[in-house]
Symmetry: C2
Subunit: 178 residues, 2 copies
DNA sequence: GCCGTTTAGGAACGATCGTTCTTGACTGGT
DNA sequence: ACCAGTCAAGAACGATCGTTCCTAAACGGC
């Protein structure tokens, strides 16, 4: 009962995730969210409690719907090089790690709950890679490399370069044919 | 002539760089800067023009005094693996890439001048690595990996893990003894 | 048709943002 | 000793921040 909602909650969360990934937490104001999400202030606070509540929902949505497919793709690979290739393929010019990247750099140092979420997501990537890696430490390095590659991909104007770079890294990781 | 300054300009720039690296651009207010830098509002605006002016000065200082030594260290290496090892050694538990990382993720997408500065710094790292790399694309991937490793180092509570991860990556990059 | 409940639509709140203004302290040159 | 010029100190500005309050609109149940 009551008046029906004029918005789709998960659609709002997804749009918020895109905004936060693009402009950082402090770079997105409530007015921005209200203007671009089609939700009005009151509904937003009624549904998510606060700006931070919406941010946490967006971050969790992002981990669940963007990072998890990445982990799954890695799980289907035979060795590390193939895993890296598949991870890059799943992102396919897209924003598969953008919010995670932003959260790790901007919010994790000052928000323990964000830090925990980020650590869990990175840990999942580590585990998926470690299962196909000769050493567990290398898996951590590769997770880091994936983040770094996405970082450059979004910062650089010539995004294609990063795919070539990633391909070169995967090639280098292949067992050398001696 | 005139009253002498009560602060050291480059010391202020360095402290500002540390603050911006820790809390992001929007996370540091003028009041924060005034309180922690020992400079008062008027002097700050007289010297740097605006908050953004101080930020640009801090970013340029960081590139000049933190990234450049990294490039130099890479230049002294014999191969890629050694270059990565040296780059990590120069950072030595420190913040050699923190502001660059933050600028690339947070400011570069919305501030073209920051984007140019970041691109130049990353390009310098690329070149230094490319000179010692079998393929130029691999150099780009390694620059990305260095950023990603530092990203995890600052996000993770157990910072030592990242050094092990970096070491594992360097080891993997070594030409395999067949 | 009225009631209880939930949402939409805005106005409004105090706090904080980046920036500017005003006043007084301190300097070198004449 | 006075003047011109630079800096320190802090109050104050309008704008914007996240958040709350109030009223009208749209539903299900009796």
């Amino acid at each position: 009962m009551g008046r029906p909602r004029g918005f789709d909650e998960i659609e709002v969360v997804r749009a918020a995730a895109a905004l936060f990934a693009d402009h950082a937490y402090d770079g997105v104001s409530i007015d921005d969210l209200v203007a671009r999400l089609g939700v009005h202030r009151n509904s937003l606070y009624k549904t998510f409690g606060s700006k931070r509540g919406l941010y946490m929902a967006a971050l969790r949505w992002h981990v669940e719907n963007r990072v998890r497919p990445l982990v799954a793709a890695i799980g289907g690979a035979d060795d590390v090089a193939e895993a890296v290739r598949r991870a890059l393929a799943v992102q396919e010019g897209g924003s598969g790690l953008d919010l995670l990247l932003m959260a790790a750099v901007e919010r994790a140092p000052v928000d323990p709950e964000v830090a925990a979420e980020v650590a869990a997501a990175l840990g999942a990537l580590d585990q998926a890679l470690a299962a196909r890696s000769p050493s567990p430490e290398l898996a951590g390095a590769l997770t880091s490399a994936l983040l770094g590659l996405r970082l450059r991909g979004r910062a650089s104007s010539t995004a294609g370069d990063c795919e070539h770079a990633a391909a070169a890294l995967a090639r280098r990781l292949d067992p050398h044919p001696c």
